[in-house]
């Protein structure tokens, strides 16, 4: 019975999409249909954890029951192993929470029923990519996802930026899709099949000939576009800034993960190219470049959501770097960071949406002092900011710790100092991330409240519940890494590294043994994680903080009680003796020391992000050419 779950979780979402068109007019019906679709999809994924993750069973399902005939796979296969389920869980969780959030969030816009149709189409497309075991099926779902996302980016059509961003996203997105389509065609020409398992078997038998290197370069770049790799990241910034926040959660939290999933499948499973050290250095280089470039760009932004967009690409840089290391702990770190990134980035985008919902703008210069009117949103923002900059109790810290250790162990193992610099760049990027979130904290939530934001109200409850769930998850995955790894991360890492089970489940017993006799596994699948993070540790922190607060309350007399007392001089801000006129330090005028020293670099980067779509496309094509040349030299 359980092999029907994967296809059901995809179909439920598409079914929901069509139902919403019929019944979408009334709000209650629409909410019921959408929450039903999203909940069942998530429930099916959770139901699969027990068999797939714990028992190690791999589910394969042939559409229309077209099983392989004499060794050749004709039908479309849906295959769920630990890696696919890991991404499936991640995707359905984000879709569910963002869906609940957008019920109230979208009431401010017109035609919410169309929004939810596109939303569910998008969710179905993403689930399809992650669960399908067929290369062309991945491409089809890719198209569904991209066009739904483009339409949703332009959802607020009264906003010219939204239309322009959607157009750019459409052009560069379809550029990526054509790369994937070309790659699939070449692979089909070579292996006469589209099933991932069989392709992997055949490729490892007949070896990699030049067309396959070309196909690998195309597929790699195609999925790179979907993951918004370095040369393709400006469109992500425009798309996030213009799209409604619950959609930006999906664009940054989920699309980039499908791109990463695609890269893992292509480089680890299909072409098994990650074994070669040249490929590893290539991916690590791309990861580091996108990490550093996007974080320095983010420090310069004046819009809350554009800043978050650049950060999500820099975190993708982290994931790509750790995947490029091709050691067991590297992949574990990367996957752990993927799930953490979906959680804290989703939370940050939802807070950005809450700020937009409450004040109507996300310009850093126009905001300030919102913590006094929206205390819960400020607290949620701080949870997100602490997790993304890797502050210990929260989840960002654990995965960054694993990535540093993986990078530095790789450096020691291969003896090349280059990987040590990867750790240094990673730490510096983490500090710059912390800097930009201090900037956002200072200019949006703290500082002084401008007079026009005086009667801003706290976000409605139905929007805050998903945010609190995400914040709780951020803390849980941070405090219990041992649990997370044992049940979710390690099975996925094992599935990435030895994929014989995947091929046997798909093509029947013995197929893998016949074809993969000679390939040695890329890295042994077990690793010693750097000291489990014992929760007793947090008992320590909690005891001290509790002690400190009680001692203080006992002795110190606290100042003004009610916050609504009349403003007298004593409780006015010290302004050098003057009456405190409005003077909010925030937005552009922070980190002058850093910007002064990096001014030439920042000018060059500023001009490079020109916003003209043909610049982005030329970059994309140049990048493809470079990757092709790189692959031909080293593959």
């Amino acid at each position: 019975m359980i092999q029907h779950f994967p296809i059901l979780s995809i179909m439920v979402l598409f079914l929901g999409a069509f139902l919403v068109v019929l019944v979408g007019r009334s709000r209650i019906a629409r909410t019921a249909v959408v929450s039903a679709a999203v909940l069942t999809s998530f429930a099916l994924m959770v139901a699969l954890i027990k068999p797939v993750m714990i028992d190690g069973q791999i589910i394969s399902y042939w559409m229309g029951n077209w099983a392989p005939v004499s060794g050749y796979a004709i039908g479309i296969g849906i295959e769920v192993d630990a890696l696919s389920l890991f991404f499936g869980l991640l995707v359905s969780l984000a879709v569910m929470l963002s869906g609940f959030y957008s019920f109230k969030y979208i009431t401010q816009d017109d035609s919410p029923d169309l929004f939810f149709t596109l939303y569910l189409m998008l969710a179905g497309g993403v689930m399809g990519i992650v669960l399908s075991g067929d290369l062309f099926n991945i491409f089809v779902m890719l198209e569904v996802m991209t066009f739904a996302a483009v339409a949703l980016t332009a959802f607020r059509s009264w906003n010219p930026n939204a239309r322009e961003a959607a157009f750019k996203y459409l052009v560069v997105g379809s550029l990526g899709s054509t790369f994937v389509l070309l790659g699939t065609a070449l692979v089909y020409g070579q292996c006469h099949t589209l099933n991932l398992a069989q392709i992997s078997g055949l490729l490892s038998v007949n070896g990699i000939n030049p067309t396959m290197t070309f196909a690998f370069a195309l597929l790699f770049t195609g999925f790179g576009v979907k993951a918004f790799m370095t040369p393709f990241h400006p469109i992500a910034a425009d798309a996030h800034a213009a799209a409604p926040s619950s959609v930006s959660v999906l664009i940054s939290g989920v699309f980039t993960k499908t791109g990463v999933y695609g890269i893992i499948r292509v480089s680890y499973f299909l072409f098994k190219s990650m074994g070669m050290s040249s490929m590893q250095t290539g991916l690590v280089f791309i990861g580091c470049v996108s990490m550093f470039v996007c974080v320095t760009m983010a420090l310069n932004q004046h819009d809350f959501k554009r800043l978050l967009a650049f950060h999500s690409i820099s975190q993708i840089g982290y994931i790509l770097t750790s995947l490029g290391l091709c050691s067991a702990i590297g992949i574990a770190g990367g996957l752990y960071h993927a799930i953490n990134h979906t959680l804290f980035k989703g939370l940050l985008f939802l807070t950005a949406g809450a700020v937009l919902y409450a004040t109507g703008t996300t310009k850093l210069e126009k905001l300030g002092g919102l913590a006094r009117r929206m205390p819960q949103t400020a607290a949620l923002f701080m949870v997100g900011a602490f997790s993304i900059s890797g502050i210990p109790p929260f989840n960002g810290f654990v995965s960054k710790w694993m990535i540093y250790q993986a990078a530095y162990e790789k450096a020691a193992e291969t003896g090349s100092i280059g990987y040590a610099f990867v750790t240094v760049i990673a730490v510096v990027t983490s500090v710059l991330t912390l800097a930009s979130f201090v900037k956002v904290g200072q200019s949006v939530f703290f500082g002084e409240l401008p007079v026009e934001l005086e009667n801003v109200k706290e976000t409605p409850l139905s929007m805050r519940i998903p945010m609190w769930i995400m914040a709780a998850l951020c803390l849980l995955t941070g405090v219990l890494p041992g649990l997370m790894q044992q049940y979710i991360i390690n099975p996925a890492v094992r599935a990435t590294l030895d994929y014989k089970g995947y091929i046997d489940a798909m093509m029947g017993e013995g197929y893998a043994a016949a074809h993969l006799a000679d390939t040695v596994p890329l890295a042994e699948a077990k690793y010693t994680f750097a000291g489990a993070w014992d929760p007793a540790f947090w008992l320590v922190l909690f005891v001290i903080v509790l002690l400190g607060v009680t001692v203080a309350m006992m002795i110190g007399k606290s100042g003004r009680g009610a916050a609504t007392a009349i403003a007298d001089d004593k409780h006015d801000t010290f302004f050098g003796g003057e009456k405190n006129t409005f003077s909010q330090v925030g937005g552009g005028d922070l980190f002058w020391g850093f910007k002064y020293n990096f001014r030439r670099y920042l000018n060059v980067m500023g001009n490079a992000h020109s916003g003209v779509v043909n610049d982005y496309v030329t970059w994309g094509v140049i990048d493809l050419a470079l990757i092709i040349v790189y692959c031909f030299i080293f593959m």
């Binding site: 002092g369 913590a371 006094r372 205390p375 502050i391 210990p392 710790w401 250790q405 530095y408 162990e409 020691a412 100092i417 040590a420 240094v424 730490v427 510096v428 500090v431 912390l434 800097a435 201090v438 900037k439 904290g441 200072q442 939530f445 703290f446 500082g447 002084e448 010693t528 750097a530 000291g531 320590v540 922190l541 001290i544 903080v545 002690l547 607060v549 203080a552 002795i555 110190g556 007399k557 606290s558 100042g559 003004r560 916050a563 403003a567 004593k570 409780h571 006015d572 801000t573 010290f574 302004f575 405190n580 909010q584 330090v585 922070l590 980190f591 002058w592 020391g593 850093f594 020293n597």
Partner: protein
């Protein structure tokens, strides 16, 4: 029993009580020797303790523009994480919370106190605090690069000793130094030690690099709106941070000194801490003036990072 030992560690020895007393005493020594260098008598060594208790007695004013809960809670979070950092650093063999990778944990735990000051300052809603937050953040950005390079160099040196590639655990580093002499004496680590001597005052916010809390220019930066107990906790965490950073220096570069009795080791380590404080913080405070923000950033990202990089490369080549 283990929990009881942990509680003793937390509250008594390397934890809250000892590190605050020793931290305040260290701050007192620092101010006294600084005064003596300027040919004046200088305050009694107990002066920071008097300051702390005086501030506890003052009234806490919460300005109207402040986000109340963050404003009040920030100092305690800063203090708590500082105490936890002390637990991670081995003092002559006593290490409350060992782990395999202490260095990464310490690296991040050291950012929380400055983060607490920054979020506390920006929650107070004062424009001076805004400028102070921006400068403190640039200070963090500037010292983070050399610090990670130093730690990688020391980790590589100790790791090579145990032929396991690298180690992030301070225990192993202490064992390595016990085996073949403190790191400071093998000359490939000299540039890293000098770089660390510059990083300590920048991290603590001592005079030449206290751009964040410059009382003359921006009225104590983020602490401008604090008074009473929260300010006392911030001053205490400032003193403890001095102690933590010098302790980290001794653990990284002068560890592994083991005489017979345990308490003698502890006294020696604390003595070294005091000497290191005098060398890098008091002397620097006495003879130089405060740097501008971008001068400090350029100095750290070129000269000091270069020094640390030099020692990393030397260690990597195998000297």
């Amino acid at each position: 029993m283990k929990l009881l030992m942990n509680l003793v560690y937390i509250l008594i020895f390397p934890g809250l009580l000892f590190s605050s007393v020793f931290g305040l005493w260290l701050a007192g020594i620092d101010r006294k020797i600084l005064a003596r260098m300027q040919k004046r008598v200088g305050p009694p060594v107990m002066q920071p303790t008097y300051d702390f208790f005086k501030l506890m007695g003052k009234e806490t004013i919460i300005p109207d523009n402040a986000a109340r809960s963050t404003f009040l809670l920030a100092p305690y979070i800063g203090l708590a994480s500082l105490i936890v950092t002390v637990l991670f650093i081995p003092i002559a063999g006593i290490q409350a919370f060992g782990g395999v990778a202490d260095i990464v944990v310490i690296l991040y735990l050291l950012t929380i106190p400055s983060l607490a000051i920054m979020f506390g300052g920006s929650a107070s809603g004062s424009p001076f605090a805004g400028v102070g937050v921006s400068r403190t953040m640039v200070a963090i950005m500037s010292y983070e690069l050399p610090l990670i390079l130093i730690m990688l160099a020391v980790g590589r040196l100790a790791g090579r000793g145990f032929d396991m590639g690298i180690t992030f655990s301070l225990e192993k580093i202490a064992q390595y130094q016990a085996a073949n002499g403190p790191n400071l004496f093998c000359w490939s680590m000299i540039p890293a030690a000098v770089a660390m001597l510059f990083v300590i005052p920048c991290e603590v916010g001592a005079q030449p690099f206290d751009v964040g809390e410059a009382e003359t220019e921006i009225c104590e930066g983020p602490l401008v709106e604090y008074s009473g107990t929260p300010l006392a906790i911030f001053k205490l965490s400032h003193a403890i941070k001095m102690f933590v950073m010098t302790l980290l220096f001794t653990a990284l570069f002068l560890g592994g000194i083991s005489t017979g009795m345990l308490w003698l080791d502890v006294v020696i380590v604390l003595g070294i801490c005091a000497v290191v404080t005098l060398v890098c913080m008091t002397l620097a405070h006495a003879i130089t003036a405060r740097l501008k923000v971008e001068q400090m950033f350029r100095l750290f990202w070129t000269v000091i990072a270069g020094l640390a990089l030099l020692s990393l490369i030397l260690v990597w080549i195998g000297i």
